[in-house]
């Protein structure tokens, strides 16, 4: 909770001025610098959020009639309507494997690119560039490149690897590709930053003592990297979890990739049912928080401490 206050020896009446006593606890005028950020957080985050939660208990008349549960109608609809409820599973089926893949694939790449070599900066820049592509361009590119007439299928057919063009877009895989392309560079960037925060002398010491590369990885790098891995997993998971344009553009929006974000937007923009939209949105947040909590629990079992450099 609050920061550990400075404990005075006895509860005697302090002779210091009130201002001084407050300053001892860390309260003084420089805290005013926090005010803009707090005002921002309250006005643009807390207020809308609580308003949205309130809204979920004011279901539209149509919802109340259909599900007949009074103020709980939106929630009943969420859990009972398979069209909405199944989207949780569909979202997870996309987001979890993609986030896991992005993190696991970044580790070896970050390792190999850790040391100096010719063209390292270029390669790093190239790996980072896809962040700028954005989901929409990735979607458009995938539709053209990996579509039935696209270069990828054309090449595979011509070298005789396949007879029929593969269906790589407008289904589950299209969304997976688009998420990996936008998520992997992000994961790579974060993991290589965390990796560079690990003091190389620790590894050097282990090497001096005769530890093999696996031992060094298992006993030194992994524990030190674990917090970074957890953070990276969470952030890429958040990115993949809230897919929405790519699920519509390269996915099968009413079938395999009917993700929660699409359902929420459908209620918001197409049905204009703001209470139901808020309900889905908030349930989305809850589902995601559960996953994050699990990751943090895992992380709490790992070594906790400074990895040098990054505090």
């Amino acid at each position: 909770m609050s920061a550990p206050a400075v404990r005075r020896p006895r509860a005697e009446k302090s002779t210091a001025s009130r201002r001084h006593r407050l300053a001892e606890r860390g309260i003084d005028t420089s805290l005013l610098m926090l005010v803009p950020a707090l005002v921002f957080a309250v006005a643009l985050f807390i207020y809308p959020f609580t308003y949205g939660i309130g809204l979920t208990f004011q279901p539209s008349l149509a919802m109340q009639e259909q599900w007949g549960a009074g103020i709980w109608s939106n929630y009943v609809a969420f859990f009972k309507d398979p069209f909405i409820f199944d989207s949780i599973y569909l979202t997870m089926r996309l987001a979890l494997p993609v986030a896991l893949f992005n993190v696991l694939a970044s580790i070896p790449v970050a390792f190999k690119l850790r040391h100096k070599f010719r063209g390292k900066k270029t390669l790093t820049i190239l790996l980072v560039l896809p962040i700028t592509l954005g989901t929409v361009l990735t979607a458009q590119g995938l539709l053209i490149f990996a579509g039935r007439q696209g270069w990828l299928n054309r090449f595979l057919v011509q070298i005789g690897l396949i007879d029929q063009p593969l269906t790589l877009v407008n289904n589950y895989w299209g969304v997976v590709f688009s998420l990996v392309i936008s998520g992997f560079p992000f994961a790579f960037l974060l993991i290589s930053s965390y990796l560079s925060g690990i003091d190389p002398s620790i590894e050097a010491a282990a090497k001096t003592m005769g530890a093999g590369w696996f031992q060094r990885f298992r006993r030194i790098i992994l524990p030190l990297l674990a917090p970074g891995l957890a953070t990276t997993f969470i952030l890429t998971f958040v990115l993949a979890f809230s897919v929405f344009p790519s699920a519509r553009l390269v996915g099968d929006a009413m079938g395999e990739t009917r993700v929660m974000a699409l359902m929420a937007y459908r209620a918001f923009g197409e049905l204009n049912d703001y209470p139901m939209a808020s309900t889905i949105a908030i349930m989305m947040g809850l589902v995601e928080l559960v996953v994050i909590a699990l990751v943090l629990v895992w992380r709490s079992f790992m070594y906790k401490g400074s990895t040098g450099g990054k505090g």
Binding site: S2, A3, R25, G26, S30, M33, L34, A37, A41, L44, F45, P48, F49, G52, I53, P108, V109, F111, K112, H115, K116, F117, R118, T124, I125, V128, I131, T132, L133, G134, T135, V136, T138, Q140, G141, L142, I144, F145, F177, L190, S193, G197, P200, A204, F217, G228, L235, V238, S242, F244, P245, A264, F268, Y274, S278, A281, I282, M284, G285, G309
Partner: protein
């Protein structure tokens, strides 16, 4: 290139000069000698990176070719090349307006989020005060939550206040993830500044404002640049939140492309969309390449302590 992470099992205890490190598999090799054949793990990594680049370059090039081709059906390359699609898209979607909106939103969001975020990051990095952890959590929440989760209630509030489809609403919703992002990026940058410098300035009689403008400001320029770049990239690329509140007059580039792709009746001609997408990518890449001249991407989480073995 060297990969010291992999094993080199020269006998422990041998006094190693700072020789170029060796690759995995160098079971017994004289110091300074490199393997000619890379280890399987190295090949595996490079194959993965290559596959990634094939996809990436394929995606990019096919969009560019598509935006220049006329017509392109089932051949390797289009029959003719033309720039008609660009002029077509420029007129049809009012690209000047869209790019103007995008840049305005991005710049305002950067300035506001730096002004709000940096002082807060300073306090969170340096000071202890009551409720610090709750406040930190509050600033982190918007980054951890899916944008839709807070975006939909936020957009509902915006429409209730009559701000729907206005530029103000677009800027405000984009601030929500940007400010926490600035705080998160700036905190490590501030932590690594030696506090004794600030203390010295204070002892010499500088007040808080002077400490900020004379001491911290110049030292934080790389951090602020890094944060601004990230916010810029995120704001220009932010689809979900902008889409919820923007209207025809206030669409940013991404949202305009999405609308063109999903417009009722099967969307616009694919090539028009492609040419818009190319404009978008070129804009972003120019921004990023300029930015990367000033900021190294790996400095974002921690300042790189260059490995001694390099």
């Amino acid at each position: 290139m060297a990969a010291t992470d992999t094993a080199h099992t020269t006998a422990p205890g041998v006094d190693l000069p700072p020789a170029p490190p060796r690759r995995k598999g160098s079971v017994t090799r004289a110091p300074g000698e490199k393997a000619l054949v890379a280890s399987p793990s190295t090949w595996f990594v490079w194959a993965g990176v290559a596959a990634f680049f094939i996809f990436l370059i394929g995606i990019l090039v096919s969009v560019v070719v598509d935006s220049l081709g006329k017509p392109w059906f089932d051949t390797w390359l289009p029959e003719n090349f033309t720039t008609d699609w660009y002029t077509g898209a420029w007129d049809r979607f009012g690209m000047a307006q869209i790019i103007g909106v995008t840049l305005t939103v991005a710049i305002v969001v950067i300035v506001l989020s730096v002004l709000i975020g940096v002082p807060a990051a300073y306090l969170l990095a340096r000071r202890n005060f009551p409720f610090k952890r709750i406040i930190t959590l509050l600033f982190l929440l918007p980054v951890l939550m899916p944008p839709i989760t807070y975006g939909i209630p936020l957009a509902t509030v915006m429409y209730n206040f009559g701000l729907g489809r206005s530029l103000v609403a677009v800027i405000l919703v984009n601030l929500v993830p940007s400010v926490p992002f600035v705080i998160m990026t700036m905190t490590p940058f501030i932590e690594q500044i030696n506090p004794t410098i600030e203390n010295a300035a204070r002892m010499s009689g500088a007040n808080m404002r002077q400490v900020f403008t004379k001491i911290l400001g110049p030292l934080l320029v790389p951090g602020i640049l890094a944060a601004s770049v990230l916010v810029l990239v995120r704001t220009v690329g932010m689809f979900e939140l902008t889409y919820l509140v923007s209207g025809p007059q206030t669409d940013t580039l991404v949202v305009a492309i999405y609308r063109a792709m999903t417009a009722s009746g099967g969307g616009e001609a694919r090539q028009l969309v492609s040419s818009m997408a190319v404009v978008y990518t070129v804009t972003m890449m120019v921004i990023l390449i300029i930015a990367l001249r000033y900021v190294s991407p790996t400095q974002l989480v921690a300042r790189v302590k260059e490995s001694r073995e390099d």
